[in-house]
Symmetry: D2
Subunit: 342 residues, 4 copies
């Protein structure tokens, strides 16, 4: 059994990790920390876990994280980088669901996250945990930077296109829409029901922290710096990201074949038939990225549609997928939930 | 392996059966019928099932239902009663998710469902598939009448109270609210998004078909005819039923202890602590009825709160639970999903 | 022109007052206060008001409220009672949308609101601003206690029944459901979109502050203390309250005629035809209480359905209605919005 | 008083016309037709109109449309073109809210709408009713083609850019999202609540009927054929369109000044400050197009955000605006509703 600890279990990625791990046959949940809620049974806060998770929140001091095999950080940005070295030194693998280890260029990271990085050397060691591009490196990793939700949907959507060189990498557009759970469980005015329901808006058009993370990936797929515009929007739904990606073709290729071939061996990327329109609900609760590729009216614009559940393939599910790879388990262990439709 | 057939797989209870059965380790899906969609892969209609269910819809004639071990009817009312006898004669067990076999009094059934019953003798044989009251009878049954969604939530909520005799059975009120999926997948104006979203209303206050089904149960729990008012409402959410039940106490008993004791051995009924308020989302996708009991300000009114997912414990999940009991499997096989929160 | 001031304009009742008053032909908006946002144009916070309201928030000190003809308090409970006397002394009429002056029994108020009342004498003077019962007293009032949202829907629903004496006043049940805007604009976890959407729950079954307010009214309609159970629920919609009221008949009367006659002269109470089911969306944005009365299956239980927009007839609209009465204007001035459907 | 008739009043644009016209001081509603519902009071179908609209649906034969001053067609495509000539001959002005007269190139229209046009000569006469580009021509028109909802938001968003020549007109992208009411009130599976709620998807990426309508406008603004990609999406909200527009700058201009100057005199187009993000709810129920323009990170991509209420500025409100212009009334008569927020 893999002994698992979770740091910061009161947010949505925390409860989602618990939902998935509670049925993982190889996992023993050892500790989940929350200084503020220490002592409270997790199922008192998240009643869906009643009878399934008996753990109570504990303080970091009592949690015994250094005796775990793996620790997930489901914390705000800036927490994992303070605690990771001690855990690694104790022989614990670390999977960070926040952004601390995602961006290799420390200056860029510090610019966007507005803090000084505590351990640049560990960033250099960290493996970016997108299995579809880094599976082999994940196998041996001590430290995994679990990708952001927007970056997962956008990178998986653009990857075959950029790898093929068939588009103008100088003008890529990602118009991406996210459910409200992506904003977390911390109370804020703009994510109140009465603000976000029956409403739709773009936000952070001037600059969003996921932009440099995505750009880092696209640059690497393309082999050179890309021109990339990213506009996030807030949808009045709980879970789900829909990325609509635009690029200009510079070669006449069979896009459907390109995508099908690229992802032929991937269990968690589903390329839909030509002409299809993936729906976010088809992946609700499931660790799947579902993709369709279009070329409207046979013109020179390619449109890629890519959907994920931001809490699963965009966070906790991908983290469990990384854990499965790390420990040599079948990659889909505990990740076989079918999307909940309706 | 249990060979399973499903009649009428294009509605919400059909796709939910598939979502659950696709991961049932003892089930082999043999056929799913839809005359209208014959030939279409199920996953083309319900893309959440892509890569998980490879079956296509077939006509009833081609389906070979008589070679199955069990057939689920996920059909409109009045269909199962036409086909059940032939299946039973062929040795097939039948679980009807519609209302054909739920009401023992044929005249009452014909009054509310406005058709002549095709096989009153089979109604007499059918077992009402609420495991919490009929588990032993289900084990040996050939034909199971799977309860309605409202009836499941209301009967499980009132059962301990009425069995204890602690309330005035002459004035019971069930104010019940259901998500829109309860109305089915057939397009109708009043269940359109633009009609049902951001809206709330009662309906069928003058009389709803689930009233006689619930009354039949309550009469039986009480040992005499009850006075029972039932008001259903439509909530702007997809899945979930919340029953708020009112009765007048005629004895001073420990309500919390009554409920906890009554359901102590039930895996799928969760009595919450005193003072709790169950949320529909805590059972979203899960085969659980979650109950709390209140006595506001210590007065003589008892208020019971009971929530289920109408498509799971209120339909497909309960049907799978009945199948597990029928075939001697652990009752929770394929029914361990944790409620999806958020 | 009536010079109007608003204290506390950053919440939902504040912005709703502005939406309505911006088109009131006899109103001149003089000031809207918010210590925290002083200096910010109101339309920066609420962009629906761009080009329609040019006012900026001001501090209470700068607002010049004592020069207004009327001041609305759209503040948390406990604020108005601190400032009302000075305004009244300056000749300003006061309409409090919070609860400070709603309950005549000071001890009851202090028990439920958990603070000491600052001016019991003004409570005695205050008129409860439900025009359908107090229109004449409102005309001459200096101080109006604008009713709560739940209390408006429940009292208007029960009034004809209790006034007629046709029901057992010892066992009244109000099962009431409210949209999330009723909880206000202050960020809290349970009103986040990802918590409240696709979810339904009861809350405060053990006791809600609107219970004593409603009971005070029902006692008065009935002429004696009633037995009254109140269970509020949270609906995943923005605006709207649906009250489902239950009582036991003790006389055989024509309920439809009773209600139609009672409200025949009321512009803002609409009794629907027999058999109807009012929808919250039919009053979305409108200052209307829409009511239907049922007697299921001709039994001895009466079911009343009553809907309002909690921000309009349940708050800001009713406050403007009270202002119109106070100043001798046509009661529907600025209150002619048609419910926004869909 | 202007005598008004409405053909086809059972859909969402019909009831929205009634909501607006019911309070228009210069309008006398003469007739609203529905062959299917003839005889039913309009307020029985749309209870928000109770006490405000006393009209009943009538058959087209009984309606006396030829005695009206203006007739609105709120009908499916292909109806208005059959009846318009007779009305024009009788001296009646016609405003068609459907697509019959929107596209000047008959072959293009027939290709996209898959029917033969009944009166190409009237198409040539018809004025495209976007007041912000055609106000003067609307004044004298007999026949107005009211623009589509998507086309209104996209054209108003692109207009200043294309008129200025500052962008590459060969690669314009409109990623547009619409609430579900845009699909109409006809029951269809994909617009059911349980299908469209908590879900997001693109649709018709291969080709949508509003593409040629928008392209006709953009070509005209640009003075030459543009390259234009249009991807519509369905948002789980009732009312609202959010267009996110992308273009590549070929000149270094002050975008904010460009937009503010272009729309300085327009009452119904609101250019927000630099950096703003318009929300659909800020125009809910209001006849306003709210626009913001961005240049992310100072690069060569311009992003325009444009929101409308699809039923108001995108349909019925714009139709009333056109009627006001036609009859020489103040353009905002009956169009002063403030957006309903929250």
């Amino acid at each position: 059994m893999i002994k698992v600890g979770i740091v910061g279990g009161t947010g949505y990625t925390g409860v989602e990790l618990l939902r998935l791990l509670a049925r993982h046959p190889q996992v023993e949940l050892k500790a989940i920390t929350s200084r503020k809620e220490a002592g409270m049974p997790v199922a008192d806060m998240f009643p869906n876990l009643r009878r399934r998770v008996t753990l109570a929140f504990s303080t970091p001091e009592e949690a015994g994280l250094e005796t775990c095999d793996v620790v997930f950080f489901a914390t705000p940005n800036g927490v994992a980088m303070q605690q990771t070295r001690a855990l690694l030194d104790a022989g614990v693998r670390v999977i960070d669901l926040a952004a601390d280890f995602r961006i290799q260029d420390i200056a860029v990271w510090e610019h966007w996250y507005k803090m000084k990085h505590a351990c640049p050397d560990l960033v250099a060691e960290a493996v970016y945990g997108l299995p579809e591009i880094n599976r082999e490196r994940i196998k041996g990793a001590r430290l995994i930077a679990n990708p952001g939700c927007y970056p997962t949907s956008v990178q998986l959507g653009f990857l075959p296109l950029l790898a093929s060189g068939a588009v103008d990498a100088g003008f890529l557009v990602a118009d991406v829409k996210s459910g409200v759970s992506g904003a977390g469980r911390k109370p804020e005015t703009h994510t109140l029901f009465a603000e976000a329901a029956d409403n739709f808006k773009a936000y952070a058009v001037g600059g969003h922290r996921h932009w440099p993370e995505i750009k880092q990936g696209l640059d690497s797929f393309s082999g050179k710096p890309v021109g990339f515009t990213f506009v996030p929007h807030l949808i009045p739904l709980i879970r789900g990201i829909h990325a609509t990606l635009y690029a200009r073709l510079n070669a006449d290729i069979d896009l459907q074949a390109l995508y099908e071939k690229h992802y032929a061996d991937e269990a968690f990327v589903d390329v839909m038939p030509a002409g299809a329109h993936p729906e976010t609900r088809s992946v609700r609760g499931a660790n799947v990225c579902r993709i369709a590729v279009h070329r409207p009216q046979g013109g020179d614009t390619v449109v890629v549609l890519s959907v994920i559940d931001n809490l699963v393939k965009g966070a906790a599910g991908q983290a469990v997928q990384n854990m499965n790879i790390l420990f040599g388990l079948p990659e889909d262990t505990a990740l076989t939930d079918v999307g909940m439709l309706p």
